[in-house]
């Protein structure tokens, strides 16, 4: 990780949003030891308010928390159909940004999940399995300093 180029993630996710016509893109990263390694949203593009900045993610909770814990991409094609409205408050980013169709992928570093990249639309069913796969292929194997797919360490 020496001689690593500096990445401008805000620009990167703005570009992603333009390229795939997403309504919203955000990136969560594990924070350094001073902040007790919590996972928080660091960058957002297309956000309608600043609520995302207040949220601290918990492993295994919410969509990003699930992706972080399992290391597997996750797709919610239609929020209204897939999440019971009674449970919706457990997905604060979906509520805050009024997302209706979204997906999230883990960002790897040294075979550990170090962050989560979330993309979504404010209309139902805009992101289906095929579109989500197209996005993952289009993104490629790397995003900034991270691997977009799990690489086993030799």
């Amino acid at each position: 990780m020496k001689n690593q180029p500096i990445y401008h993630y805000q620009e990167e996710i703005d570009k992603l949003r333009g390229r795939f016509q997403f309504d919203f893109v955000s990136m969560a990263l594990v924070q350094p030891a001073e902040d007790r390694f919590v996972l928080t949203w660091q960058y957002a593009s297309g956000n309608i308010n600043e609520r995302y900045k207040r949220i601290v993610l918990h492993s295994g909770k919410g969509i990003a928390g699930m992706v972080f814990k399992t290391g597997k991409p996750m797709l919610i094609q239609n929020v209204n159909a897939d999440i019971e409205s009674r449970d919706l408050f457990n997905y604060p980013i979906i509520v805050a940004e009024q997302l209706k169709s979204l997906g999230a992928i883990p960002l790897w570093e040294d075979s550990r999940v170090k962050g989560v990249l979330l993309v979504g639309y404010r209309n139902e069913n805009r992101l289906d399995q095929a579109a989500f796969e197209r996005f993952q292929e289009g993104l490629g194997a790397e995003f900034g300093a991270f691997h977009a797919r799990e690489v086993t360490q030799s």
Binding site: V30, A33, R36, F37, V38, N49, R51, Y52, R54, I55, V56, H58, S59, S85, R86, L88, F89, P92, A96, D110, R112
Partner: protein, 359 residues
């Protein structure tokens, strides 16, 4: 008392028979109904009365479903009709009624004419009393459940905080010590990753402990417990809680503090779930000898007259019950588009108020 003539007395008895709200049946040795008063006819199914009057079947059994004995709610063992000598001065009997199905009645049954073996069965409707009793029982049970739940939460919370989290913390310290020992680069990296996971795990356990029941509620009081809870809410859900407390660190009995904490927690959670807003106002103060809590949002609100719960519908009921535990008054106001306001007012006596310095 004025001496009454026999005629006068029998006249009164006749009137009582005709106008009493108690149902009166005269039953002979074989269990057949000899006569019944209008109140009794009102109870019974029309078919049954028809059969009794026409003499097709005049046994009382076709309307009686049984009575309550020591073993069963509804039983036919040792039927009162067959054991006139048994003590049936007061018991509960279930009858099949005209429109309301099987209904419980308070009954008394005794012989009034030895020679001809005529007995009288008198009935009084018990449904209302039983409903009252049921409500009372339910509310008592709920209070018991609330208390049991609170105790159990406290126990698990302490356990997590005092033993699990402590153990984990000391392992974490050990791990940090190892980092400064002479180890290779790859081991160091692995150790760092483990430290990250363990730190996060420790935080999760602490959260869990606080979520179950915050130790600060017992140790530091309402204000401190609320401040950390609202911070947690903000971090977890991005909901801003505007909290103003005017208690000057006063302490109350643990029962009151628990009730206030739980009701506020529930009210804020409701606002988070249903109000569709990202700001809630909470005010805690002491006014005119009572402790007051106000939770207000300017969100969606709901129609209070429409009994359609978005959630389980138990939340509001539970808040009310909790308030009753400490003789508190619970008020809720909401209208579509106007937000929701929850108010709790608990009267304070010298007993349940304790100053911070007495601790």
């Amino acid at each position: 008392m004025i001496q009454m003539t026999d005629e006068h007395l029998s006249d009164l008895l006749k009137k009582m028979y005709a106008n009493s709200m108690e149902a009166i049946f005269f039953i002979d040795e074989k269990g057949s109904v000899v006569a019944m008063n209008p109140a009794a006819e009102n109870i019974l199914d029309i078919d049954v009365i028809e059969r009794m009057h026409s003499g097709v079947d005049d046994s009382f059994c076709q309307t009686c479903k049984g009575y309550t004995d020591e073993k069963d709610q509804i039983s036919c063992a040792k039927c009162y009709l067959d054991y006139p000598k048994g003590d049936f001065s007061s018991f509960q009997v279930y009858l099949k009624t005209r429109n309301e199905g099987v209904v419980p009645y308070a009954a008394s049954y005794h012989t009034i004419d030895e020679e001809r073996g005529i007995r009288v069965l008198m009935l009084l409707d018990l449904t209302k009393q039983q409903k009252t009793q049921e409500m009372l029982q339910r509310s008592n049970l709920l209070k018991y459940v609330i208390k049991a739940q609170e105790d159990e939460r406290k126990r698990i919370s302490r356990e997590l905080h005092d033993s699990v989290a402590q153990e984990l913390l000391s392992s974490l310290v050990d791990l940090r010590v190892v980092k400064y020992m002479d180890v290779g680069e790859d081991v160091l990296q692995k150790l760092q990753q483990t430290e990250v996971s363990l730190t996060r795990l420790l935080d999760d356990i602490r959260h869990m402990s606080v979520e179950l029941r915050p130790a600060s509620l017992d140790d530091l009081g309402l204000e401190a417990a609320f401040r950390s809870h609202f911070k947690w809410i903000e971090k977890n859900y991005g909901l801003l809680v505007d909290f103003s407390a005017e208690l000057s660190a006063a302490r109350y009995s643990s029962e009151i503090e628990t009730v206030v904490y739980r009701i506020c927690q529930e009210a804020v959670l409701n606002a988070l779930k249903y109000a569709g807003t990202d700001e809630v106002h909470v005010r805690l103060c002491e006014e005119m000898g009572s402790l007051q809590l106000t939770v207000k949002d300017t969100g969606a609100g709901f129609n209070m007259n429409v009994n359609e719960a978005k959630g389980t519908g138990l939340g509001l009921y539970g808040m009310r019950e909790r308030a009753e535990l400490v003789d508190g008054q619970f008020k809720l106001h909401s209208a579509p588009g106007e937000g929701t306001q929850v108010e709790l007012r608990i009267p304070l006596t010298q007993d349940n108020k304790r100053e911070a310095d007495t601790r």
